[in-house]
Symmetry: C2
Subunit: 320 residues, 2 copies
Amino acid sequence: MQKNMCQIGVDIGGTAIKSVLVSSGQVLACKSIPTDIEAGPDKIIKDIAGLIKELKELSEGRVITGVGIGCPGAINSKTGMVDHAYNLKWDFVPLAAKLRELVGYPIRLSNDANAAAFGEARYGAGKNYKNSVFVTIGTGIGSGIIIDGKLYEGNQSKGAEIGHIVIRSGGEPCTCGRRGCFEAYSSATSLIRDTVRAMKKNPDSKLWQVAKSVDQVNGKTVFDAVMLNDKTAKSVFNHYIKMLGEGLVNIANSLRPEAIILGGGVCAQGEVILKPLRKFVAKYSFGDGPMVDILTASLKNDAGAIGAAALVEWEEQFPV
Amino acid sequence: MQKNMCQIGVDIGGTAIKSVLVSSGQVLACKSIPTDIEAGPDKIIKDIAGLIKELKELSEGRVITGVGIGCPGAINSKTGMVDHAYNLKWDFVPLAAKLRELVGYPIRLSNDANAAAFGEARYGAGKNYKNSVFVTIGTGIGSGIIIDGKLYEGNQSKGAEIGHIVIRSGGEPCTCGRRGCFEAYSSATSLIRDTVRAMKKNPDSKLWQVAKSVDQVNGKTVFDAVMLNDKTAKSVFNHYIKMLGEGLVNIANSLRPEAIILGGGVCAQGEVILKPLRKFVAKYSFGDGPMVDILTASLKNDAGAIGAAALVEWEEQFPV
């Protein structure tokens, strides 16, 4: 990579589109706009082209080698097509082709969690590891697999839906139609569900001090109540760590990565969740090693956009 | 690969050591001896050297480029060390170094299921796929992951213990210390356990016609009783397919390989298990595709030895 070269990374979220101008992982400029979902894909693609134009003007003579896009949903990175993106209400949108027509740069499209995984692997918490797995804990569980420093996307780039590994067959219903998925126990949504259940069963719990009503419960409620030494909250917390731990041991045993990197809001708890998780994973991993390192993401909310740009920097072929 | 080149592959099993002389996946000669476990590693390594010498004499002037070894247990392919092999009662045996001293050829050591996975991927049922996962159903569940035509071994080559993905947290105890592993439901051992349990609960079941006593139950008993239209056997069979299916959907969702290749004794049932498994996987896989192909292994008992030789053929670096 020559020093006068840079890339643009775009992360399409349900509420905002974030774009960055990046050179060797360093963010030179950043522009965001709200995601105008109701206006449909063509308007959003036009908005993205607008962001790219703005960033181009800030590139100070550097050569922009391409644009990387991280998009939620079922993405085919080989065709540059968004097959389905439920959050965006998109089906079969040829995003890469349409955007290329507007901006002229080569486009590398990827699933947003995959882009974030690549960002963390190249420039974030995973930069010292060849093989890592990224798990982002939000409304659902997103994930990305890095093998030998490269993003592994699987057949039609539909791989790494680690959130949809069943960890308790017949258990909690999952949005995917199965029962007992990792996501159905370890997402922030699931943690909120379990917190609300515990509150309803335990009217004396201090969870009611933290959240005045069940409508006000969020992914932080249980952690705040644990700090108040609440027994019910501790029980919800312990169950959450156990089920999240089961998923992480599954990753450790099946892929034996050097590191698992955790992203998403819940990870703001840092050592509060990392310490018991490391203990659980050490206890239940197969055989006697090697142990997997468990870390929190370091690029935070920029991981997706930086990772999308990094895909352009590190790969040579793009769909369009 | 030049035509006058060949490799030797060795598969160390609990009862026999199988060795083959292979050229581009074609077996030119084959030699086996019993595994003399009680005599200890040095004697076994000497036995392997003897097999290699015999095969060398049958090589008809071809150049033997190296020896590949598939060995059960926790294998470090980078150091050529058998860290632990419970079946063989070995701990920290520098197999590759010791064998190289005796035979002079470069040695490529691998876990036996990984070697078999590579054999099937290069020359067997997986030869038309770039990304495949091999699952062998025996006493336990062995597995190997092929990514982009290469064997993925994970950190210290301890990867791909897919049998130790928990699919029912808190469920059946597993030899690894966890509860509810894929292996604890889908191995032949688990199928036998469930068959015996069902027999004890159902004295009128035709399972008692197939196996006269619980001591005579094997991995085939339940399939034979299903052919007799036995209700109890059908229930055991359906539960087995469901749990095996849960594991395969987990593989499909997390790695999205193009193919899953099933090996081991149970797979002799062919379409009897493949048909309901394909239906289950199609029903529960995440999103709307692409579907993973589910096939049975084609190299059968030779997969490990052929695969070990293939690792020598296709890789350029060996530990010793």
